[in-house]
Symmetry: C2
Subunit: 383 residues, 2 copies
């Protein structure tokens, strides 16, 4: 089940509401990434409290561990990981592609050795749909080939990108057929490919639209291409997708990328950046980014961001609200609480940024919001 309602638009930017089997998602929205059935370093409670509406799970990883037998026994991923709100799963295509020389792609699917136990495995559009049906995610993604930007220094040619895009289209049809055969009660999204070539992206879009899927994603971005190439595709493809259906930009990106993506008409985003950067001491704030490892924070009594209402910055009434000095100390000592608080803060920053974007769209002031956002981020975190 998927119902998408377009509430407001401003330029290409869209304010919408997505109704899924496990609940309602206000868009534009950022989806925290929960690869192995856990958003790294945070509890489901923290995610709920910061206002996360939908999280992502990785089909490939969950297939490896804990495996389908356990997930089937639990009736899907929701109960296994203790997350009651909507969930999206990818198809596993990106992960098998990332295995590099460990895998072999054919028309039928991808053969590879399990990185966990070496088992010979075969992932096809049909298998991906079968796994995602067991996971019972609210949004399943078609199995696709993620067209690389370059391979060992060789930049993908138009012919190569076309062959890859056409393979993904054939896999989209097989995904749709299998999803229907399985009577999966959730929603299947198609994925636009075509590399850095607008004409291929348009062909891919047209063919996917013919399949009349309930939503569409833009794939094959944030795969190592220069930033201007990514921005060019972001400016090209989203607006060409059906206005009445949700649009998902896969694997993007920085706070600036999210604001730009919204301006180009994107509704859903996911990225590991807030959690991964948190674990490396890279923190996002309204007034620019901050490296907590830097000695300048050693005795700084201020929170990361005085305007932030997360547990790390603001606390929860009786406790919390930590200084930069304390976070610096935790990082220096390798204490687990460091990445825990940093993950809460960064995810809260992303989730809250999207909330502010939605409020701006509700009030018809997204353009002013964008300018203010750029000014604030350029201001710096203070000395």
């Amino acid at each position: 089940m998927l119902h998408f309602e377009l509430l407001e638009t401003e330029g290409r930017a869209r304010r919408g509401r997505l109704t899924l089997n496990h609940g309602v998602v206000e868009t534009p929205v950022f989806m925290p990434v929960g690869t192995y059935g856990t958003v790294k370093g945070v509890t489901p409670r923290s995610l709920e409290e910061m206002g996360a509406q939908i999280i992502l799970g990785n089909t490939f990883h969950l297939w490896m561990r804990p495996g389908l037998d356990v997930l089937l026994q639990f009736g899907g991923l929701h109960r296994f990981e203790g997350w009651r709100r909507p969930m999206l799963t990818d198809s596993g295509g990106f992960q098998v592609w990332s295995l590099g020389e460990m895998r072999k792609i054919s028309e039928e699917g991808v053969r590879f050795a399990s990185p966990v136990n070496g088992d010979r495995l075969f992932l096809t559009p049909e298998v991906s749909m079968q796994i995602q049906t067991v996971l019972n995610s609210d949004i399943a993604m078609q199995f696709d080939e993620c067209t690389p930007y370059e391979t060992k220094g060789h930049v993908t040619t138009e012919d190569e990108a076309r062959a890859s895009m056409e393979l993904s289209l054939r896999w989209a049809r097989r995904s749709r057929d299998e999803f229907g055969r399985l009577a999966n009660p959730n929603a299947l999204f198609g994925i636009v490919q075509g590399g850095m070539f607008e004409s291929l992206r348009e062909e891919s879009t047209a063919s996917l639209v013919d399949l009349d899927l309930p939503g569409y994603a833009i794939g094959g971005v944030s795969v190592g291409e220069p930033k201007d190439e990514m921005l060019r595709i972001m400016a090209h493809t989203p607006q060409r997708l059906p206005a009445a259906k949700p649009r998902y930009l896969m694997g993007v990106g920085t706070p600036e990328d999210l604001v730009e993506g919204v301006a180009q008409g994107v509704d859903l985003f996911d990225c590991v950046m807030p959690t991964r950067n948190a674990r490396n001491g890279h923190l996002f704030t309204r007034f620019g980014d901050l490296k907590i490892r830097n000695a300048r924070h050693k005795a700084d009594e201020r929170p990361l961001d005085e305007s932030c209402t997360c547990y790390a910055c603001h606390g929860c009434g009786t406790s919390g609200g930590f200084s930069r000095a304390y976070l610096h100390h935790l990082d220096r000592c390798g204490e687990m609480l460091g990445p825990m608080l940093a993950s809460i803060h960064n995810l809260h920053y992303y989730v809250n940024l999207m909330r502010e974007i939605r409020e701006a769209l509700d009030e018809g002031r997204f353009d002013a919001f964008r300018r203010r956002f750029a000014q604030d981020r350029a201001r710096g975190i203070g000395d």
Copy 2:
């Protein structure tokens, strides 16, 4: 400031109430260990929610990092780490003792090289009191020499234990004098030493009681001695300390040790076991211990302990309440949420055990509680 009220007794076991500068502590109590200004793997909020009343900080570690300048700027450890309730700090003696050949002990104090940056440092009773005054802990501990059970296979002789105990007594007097000179507004505890020799423990006790300190600890246990030796000292020393003052058994122990300690008249405990074991996948439950890494848990839908009300077992209304299968999966994948949930559970187990002990003492049924506790723990976690 310290006020101790003895509310109930049953045999040697005591139910008390300790009023300190940062609040009231119901005893017997377990103190989670927060070495570097953080109880490893849990937020202050979790500690408050599970009912932790007082936590421990390590003077030696905090002196190294973040250092006294930062702690002085924050007005002590409470504000630095965001913990508003009472706190106890050790003296640093145990940690410099643990440096082994890296340190040199003299009458004056202990010379050693900083394990963090190699600086030549000198820790004395006076320096320990100065640091603990900066930390502003509710309970400070005298600087002592922790008498080893054995050194490189050589079991400490009575003469060696006497010399060490007498040094600790001289350091107790210097600690008391410096604590007074600094006008520290908190409470200083003395530490009974004497190794495994009852007569030395009695001499140590008598001399410390002459100093009329507001509380006393039993040190030099849980330092590598056989279990029966530890139980012998636990059965000997606590009952000989002044009845009107709180008694603290340092660094002990298993759940069984805590129940035995209470039965012998101990009021305060600390131990790294709940947090350290949590990080190694060793979980405590009412019905015995559990190794989450064991393959038997792979598909087990039950919580760790069905009678437990912690976030990991029971959740918090809208989220949480995780299965053994999920915790097993997190452990296998090396996901941070694994030790996070395990730490919450183990600490909650310890804190809740002490709450149950207090309730039993309030109702005059501690003896029955002890029998039931032993039966439950022997029952096993189920197949």
